[in-house]
Amino acid sequence: MDDHIKHDHSHDGIDRRGFLKCMAWAGAGTLLVLDGGVVKSFALSGLDKHSAHDLKGQLSFVQISDSHIGFNKPANPDVTATLQTAINKINAMPHKPDFIIHTGDLSQLSKPSEFDTLDQALKGVAAKQIYFVPGEHDMLSDNGEQYLERYGKGTKGAGWYSFDHKGVHFVGLVNVANLKAGGMGSLGHEQLEWLEDDLKNRSASTPIVLFAHIPLWTIYPDWGWGTDDSEQALSYVKRFGSVTVLNGHIHQTMQKIEGKVSFHTAMSTAFPQPAPGTAPSAGPMKVPADQLQKVLGITDVNYLVSGRSLAIVDSPLGDSGSSASKSGRGLAVIGSSIG
């Protein structure tokens, strides 16, 4: 359950003993909120008692990722079914999310039928809006033509865009286009220029959420788990008081805090991948069938009124509870499985 702690890349001075105590509670299903360095906890079962004020705050959304519709190999022969489980879990949440963010690899092979199946499934999710960014699997036909046709309205270049919601500024970035041999993810000059311009006149007190498919911090270069030119992008958000970066691609939760920037990757709804360096490659990882739903999941993000903090809860599809991950200033990251 707690693979998350092993991937602790941050050194942010949080009292580890106190944090680990909270981790032990996580098995029972606990939502931890770190607000200005103080950890508060809420039992997930009692969420509905708290949700209206303490948890929902002003803004609540769910991140899903890596649905890989069309994948049908042993690691998960029915990715549409596990996506449906994720949707059911979202629909069963005590508070309805304002919207969904899908951080890419919607499809396995960029086939129209795969996008159709995804769209059909997402019709049943209880959210008014879904925001997408593409993964490399969505760029396989004509440099992402299919993807842009379906999900790229109002976006620029390979599909980047920004929007505001309840005072929080969201930026969808594309780091899977025009990849260079031997490289990792790439944002590209045009997008970086757009990003700089998009952010430049905003007040530093505006909470920023960046979302992109491949992690915007270097997790494991050998497997391409990073973005070559993310430093440039991160330099543009350095002056903001609260920055959250949401990514997918690696099919497991990982997080890092660097100053006021919190990085977080989501589980896949399709299949897990191995922890860095623990397997010959980053490919789909087979787990016993009864374990599958524990390693797939969704991420619930709540923006709390007090102290402008964001609570991020990863929920495995299998309902055996949640696991808390590293948290930082104003941020709590918790994983819970769907199975």
Binding site: A75, M139, L179, A181, G182, W223, G224, A282, G283, P284
Partner: protein, 118 residues
Amino acid sequence: MTNRNMWVGGLAMPVMAMLLLFAGSPSVRAADQRSAATAEVKIDNFSFGPQTITVPVGVTVTWTNRDDIPHTVVSTDGVFKSKVRDTDEKFSYTFTKAGTYPYFCSVHPKMTGKVVVQ
């Protein structure tokens, strides 16, 4: 004796000419003496194997994807570019010019390989 020498000399030239004619036909030589006209590269565990392959001019290289994930085979110099290849799908390219051809998987760009054509 002179006659014989002259006769040998007379015969030598046509024989020599024939030998030279055969020597100057590289295609015939290739078919008879070189190894098979195809070479295989396996795509497995997010890598090309062998990563560098050396082949004679005229050989067709066939890449086969053995991974559970799709890959592509794309020349960094724009010489060849496969469609996306899912598990067990193949891509072939015939190298008609000598040279070095670095390539990569455009989906997972850390995957790189090289075809050396001599």
